[in-house]
Symmetry: C2
Subunit: 138 residues, 2 copies
């Protein structure tokens, strides 16, 4: 089911993505891909790394998150409050955003049907369609 859980698998994934499998990247990838699909902030991942006794700087966490995103291993989502979330689920899907908690939750692609879309203007092309269902407990 889950990909890239073992040490060797993680190293493979990094190499395939053109990233040197450094101690820090291996540890971060290991944490990211443990425990299902996640929506991680840099701060959270950094905290988890330190707790797991992997001393890594916040700068490296940011570097790694962006490199993983550029290589399609993560997807970046910015909702609110100037904080980025990095989604370990890079397949086609959408999101609930809990306004009270500031938390994201996946919506499976098949639960949202976008039946019509305008065509991309000018010489642009659609790179992604994000559907964010904002919910609150009032």
């Amino acid at each position: 089911m889950k990909n890239g859980r073992t040490y060797a698998e993680i190293i493979d994934r990094l190499r395939q993505a053109g990233l040197r499998p450094t101690r820090q990247r291996i540890a971060l990838a290991g944490l990211m891909y443990s425990g299902g699909d996640r929506h991680l902030s840099a701060e959270i991942l950094h905290g988890e790394a330190l707790r797991a006794r992997v001393p890594v700087s916040l700068a490296t966490v940011y570097n790694s998150l962006h490199q993983f995103t550029a290589r399609g291993l993560l997807r970046e989502i910015v909702i609110d409050g100037g904080r980025s979330y990095f989604d370990t689920n890079v397949s086609d899907h959408h999101h609930f955003y809990f306004e009270n908690e500031g938390r994201l939750e996946d919506i499976p692609a098949e639960d949202v049907v976008v039946a019509a879309l305008p065509k991309a203007p000018g010489r642009t092309r659609i790179s992604r369609v994000d559907v964010i269902v904002r919910v609150r407990e009032d």
Copy 2:
């Protein structure tokens, strides 16, 4: 067509929203609602105000944008880069986001058909559904 363009109309709108029509709010509202639907950042609106010889502090621009948003006169959109945009179009519609330029453009509500949505989890209710069509020039 456009609402709240004249001085008296703007004052009325502010009063109806429960906001004292101060020199600064009147000027900001006047700028915001001139020239059709807009997606404004605080910085841009502040710049326009200064250019129009309305000395107003950036703090007041932020205060006003948030007050207008809380009263339904604006809608806040956060896409990327930790910068908020305030949309003068508060009717039901969606957005193109030009990834190259960092610019938003309206999509009329009828051009996007969301034919199915999951129900809101737990005791939450849907407060808004945002569809963002990200486009890029290659």
